[in-house]
């Protein structure tokens, strides 16, 4: 368990701000104790100090996970968000997209979201901004990147993609062994 380097912290926050914008602040300054980001085997974990203290006593080769994994740094040193971060992204999301029940299942199998499956979308979403996908009953299903801005979406035809798929909760079944 080590602290993130300056560079990596920056990359992480840049990525997060794509999805939750200025709400990052809320992640770091919490009323219920200190929370911090830690890195192990290129994975970034978001964890309370209290839990971390005990976690540090466990030898690293036997430590699998502490707190919540947000994502990993790739070999090219880019940060990639994992579906496991959804727990924190969903409540602080700035741009949301609701999919129709017919599209729900398709998205959970890893497909992009087309206009026909688009139920609702938050206003003022820009192109290529991070977007959290919800079902119509407000269950977070995953996240992706907006393929079009909100205004473009209105004009797009039924088969046009409105959101590129990045991660979805179907991964918990599809790829449980490499969820981290």
């Amino acid at each position: 368990m080590k602290r993130l380097s300056e560079e990596r912290t920056k990359k992480l926050f840049e990525k997060l701000s794509l999805y939750i914008g200025s709400n990052i602040k809320l992640l770091i300054e919490r009323p219920d104790g200190l929370y911090c980001f830690r890195e192990q085997k290129d994975r970034v974990y978001y964890v309370s100090e209290k839990v971390l203290k005990i976690g540090e006593s466990i030898p690293p080769e036997h430590l699998v996970s502490v707190g919540t994994c947000f994502g990993k740094f790739t070999k090219t040193n880019k940060f990639r968000l994992h579906i496991t971060a959804l727990n924190y992204l969903a409540p602080y999301a700035q741009n949301k997209l609701w999919v129709k029940p017919s599209m729900e299942q398709q998205f959970l199998y890893g497909h992009n979201i087309t206009k026909s499956g688009l139920g609702r979308i938050s206003e003022s979403t820009e192109k290529f901004q991070g977007i959290i996908v919800f079902s119509m009953s407000d269950v977070p299903l995953g996240f992706g990147v907006a393929a079009r801005s909100t205004t473009d979406c209105r004009l797009a035809d039924a088969l046009a993609v409105v959101c590129f798929h990045q991660a979805d909760i179907g991964e918990y079944i599809r790829s449980e062994s490499d969820i981290l």
Partner: protein, 790 residues
């Protein structure tokens, strides 16, 4: 305010009211009400007449047959007397003389009558080889009687009803009637009924028709009762008693046959004295049953034997049956994300048929049927529920985690119970989920992230070495790896691939894990200090035996699990005698609780001190110690180390065995003391004698069961003093010595001094805390003294 009630006015009822509607009295058809006795129609009359005639004819026939038989006998006698006449008389035509033929019976009964009367009879009986060509007596007679049929009929009836003497001759008739009754239909029955009524009519003409009716009915009932009795007897006689098969090995049987035999054998075993065959013992039957059950349910012999030891026979079959069937699918609501009611609603909208799992759980749901796969709904993926057996709720409920605690789940994969703990803790505190298997730990990671558990540390340490890394947990859940004999429905391979060695391995691992789990708990925790041990096995070796082991090795005690159902754990099982508090543990069976076979025990740690495991040397001392405890028990002295013994468990068989050895040792020790006394001098000779006696009595006591208390009262009171109690091991003889001294009044002997010395030394060592060490020191000092003296 509002409408005012009108209490003053009395309400008048308008009608009968809706509820007061009454059914009218029933109307019966006229015919049913009064049945006038119908006159029989013309045809009926005719038929009745015919019937009577027919019956009369039949009776007549039978009578005739008899007559002929008897007359034959008579003619033989007579033929000797009047040989010559008979042949002549035969030629006389029968039709001409009707008179003598009219009284054939008289003839039979009174054969010695006048010659006149004899002749025609002889003529009748004149049937011989000579004339048989043309003379056919039977036919002739019927032809003759045709004209007088009615008369004879009346006569017959009179005879039947009045003459007792004739009844004997009528026996045949009634017999034949019976035969007919058996073979024929109800019509005959009616006839015979009417017969009997007719008979009675003569005597009781004044009976009302209803009385007749009852009489008829009674007779019928009697007959039926008789028949029923006979049938019952037949049934009892014909009941099949189970035959022990001769050639068990080479028999080819279908599954149905085996099942039937299993049932039969169980019936026999249930009432063995009555139903056994003489040759085979109970063991043979049990062996047969075991083999059949193994065949039928495809178990291996070893596991079946274990189950037969565990369950009674009827319960065994139930258990095996239940183990064939999957338990209902249950899910647990993740209270971190959703309430049960909302989840149930969401799932019902997806076409899932479900119900709450029961009163005992607020998070469980039973799924009866579902149109969608329960493990792939968006709700599941969003972490709103997890698929988990109902029995898996129980250990977590027993653990009763509190918020802000440090909790360890030692064998957590796949994380169902651990996530339950996190949900109860509401994501506060710290939860360490450990599992040694790296492949399975990914499931824990997935489940935790899916369900939003954020206070967790997931590790892959070996549970047995967990104490090396971190300790001080408030609670520990140990869901130990086991043979899985409680979840055979889930994994049927258990039936065949488990043997003694597997169980032994599991049991050893479980013991080590449990000790590690206990060691990692902080007993001084303000809220906790609890360990919950659970397995999905029903075998005692993996459950009670493991707990009992831990009770002896660590400072823990059993406490109530807080589960209101489930059967109590065994305190005694075959040769094992477990701690009496083992009843606080809970067992769950598939056939009684409709959940997987499970065992849950909750332990509380009351001291962080780890008692030293007994080494080889200490083991010997322990043996002696136990013997002293036995003596204490006999004397009803409450020992100061009762607490330790309490947690140390009962005296096991092993220690019992060693008792004999102990007694011997004590004996030698006493001899040593005696030697010392001998050297003290001759003035205490009388003392010695008494000592000897005392010794004998004590050795006797030792050999007897601990209930018998034979030591003198004085000895008891002496022992109750703590100082003297400390004297124990060399001691007992000494206590009696004191009395002996008093009696002989040779107080100032060297022996007395020796005792004083002993006491002084004791005083010096008196600070030693545990009684055990005291005893040891005592032994040492006394040994020293003995060497000095010698």
């Amino acid at each position: 305010m509002g409408r005012k009630a009108k209490f003053t006015e009395e309400k008048t009822k308008k009608g009968p009211g809706r509820k007061a509607k009454k059914q009218k009295d029933p109307k019966f058809p006229k015919a049913a009400l009064d049945e006038p006795e119908k006159k029989p129609s013309h045809r009926q009359k005719q038929r009745a007449l015919k019937r009577i005639q027919k019956r009369a004819a039949r009776k007549e026939k039978i009578k005739e047959i008899k007559k002929i038989k008897k007359e034959n006998v008579v003619t033989k006698e007579l033929s000797q007397n009047v040989k010559s006449t008979t042949i002549k008389q035969v030629s006389i035509p029968n039709g001409s003389t009707s008179k003598p033929l009219k009284r054939p019976k008289n003839f039979v009964h009174y054969p010695q009558e006048s010659d006149e009367e004899e002749e025609p009879k002889v003529d009748m009986k004149g049937f011989s080889d000579h004339n048989k060509q043309w003379l056919k007596p039977k036919q002739v007679k019927t032809a003759m009687f045709d004209s007088e049929e009615d008369d004879s009929d009346e006569e017959d009836e009179d005879q039947e009803s009045e003459e007792d003497a004739k009844v004997t001759s009528l026996n045949d008739l009634s017999d034949e009637d019976d035969d007919e009754f058996d073979s024929d239909s109800i019509k005959d029955e009616d006839e015979s009924d009417s017969d009997s009524i007719k008979l009675e009519e003569d005597e009781e003409d004044d009976l009302l028709p209803i009385e007749k009716e009852t009489k008829k009915l009674r007779a019928k009932q009697k007959r039926e009762q008789k028949l029923a009795d006979e049938e019952l007897k037949l049934n009892i006689a014909g009941q099949e008693v189970f035959q022990f098969p001769n050639d068990v090995e080479n028999e080819q049987m279908t599954l149905q046959d085996i099942q039937q035999r299993v049932r039969d054998v169980i019936v026999v075993l249930a009432d063995f004295n009555k139903l056994r065959d003489g040759e085979h013992s109970r063991g043979d039957y049990m062996e047969l049953l075991q083999k059949d059950l193994c065949n039928y349910y495809s178990y291996n012999l070893f596991l079946m034997e274990k189950f037969m030891e565990l369950f009674s026979l009827s319960e065994l079959v139930e258990f095996l049956e239940a183990s064939e069937v999957e338990r209902p699918l249950t899910i647990r609501t993740n209270t971190l994300k959703i309430r049960r009611r909302d989840l149930a609603q969401a799932l019902i909208n997806r076409g899932v048929n479900l119900d709450p799992v029961g009163q005992w759980s607020k998070v469980g749901l039973v799924v009866y049927s579902s149109q969608v796969p329960m493990g792939a709904t968006p709700e599941y993926l969003a972490g709103q529920y997890i698929i988990q057996g109902a029995s898996s709720f129980l250990p977590v409920m027993a653990l009763a985690p509190q918020e802000n605690e440090r909790i360890l789940d030692m064998c957590s994969a796949p994380g169902g119970k651990a996530s339950h703990i996190a949900a109860i803790m509401k994501n506060t505190g710290v939860l360490v989920a450990n599992d040694v298997n790296k492949n399975r730990i990914t499931a824990v990671v997935g489940n935790f992230h899916r369900m939003g558990v954020i206070n967790s540390i997931i590790s892959t340490l070996d549970g047995r070495k967990f104490t090396q890394t971190t300790t001080g947990f408030d609670r520990v859940l140990l869901d130990a790896p086991c043979t899985g004999t409680g979840v055979i429905a889930k994994d049927p391979s258990v039936k065949t691939n488990k043997d003694q060695q597997d169980i032994q391995r599991c049991s050893t691992l479980q013991r080590e894990l449990l000790l590690a789990a206990i060691d990692s708990v902080n007993s001084k925790s303000s809220t906790g200090g609890y360990i919950v041990y659970s397995t999905c096995s029903v075998l005692v070796e993996e459950n009670e035996a493991v707990i009992d082991y831990a009770l002896k090795r660590r400072n823990v005690c059993l406490v109530q699990t807080g589960l209101e159902f489930g059967t109590e754990g065994f305190t005694t099982y075959r040769q094992h005698r477990f701690h009496p508090n083992m009843k606080f543990t809970r067992r769950f069976y598939p056939h009684t609780h409709n959940m997987d076979g499970f065992f849950v025990a909750k332990l509380k740690k009351f001291s962080n001190v780890i008692p030293k495991p007994p080494t080889v040397e200490e083991a010997v001392e322990e043996v002696q110690e136990v013997s002293i405890e036995d003596i204490e028990e006999k004397m009803n002295v409450s020992p100061s180390k009762g607490k330790k013994r309490k947690h140390g468990g009962d005296v096991t068989e092993k220690s019992k065995k060693s008792k004999v050895m102990k007694v011997d040792q004590l004996g030698t020790k006493k001899e040593g003391i005696k030697k010392v006394i001998k050297k003290d001098g001759g003035d205490a000779k009388s003392k010695k004698v008494k000592l000897k006696k005392a010794d004998q009595s004590k050795t006797n006591d030792l050999k007897k069961p601990p209930t018998s208390t034979k030591l003198s009262k004085e000895a008891k009171t002496d022992l109750k003093h703590p100082k003297k109690q400390a004297n124990k091991s060399p001691s007992k003889t000494k206590v009696e010595e004191v009395q002996a001294e008093k009696k002989v009044k040779a107080v100032k002997s060297k022996e007395g001094k020796l005792k004083m010395k002993n006491r002084n030394k004791l005083g010096m060592k008196g600070q030693v805390s545990t009684v055990k060490s005291k005893i040891n020191s005592n032994k040492l000092t006394s040994k020293k003294m003995f060497t000095k003296k010698s």
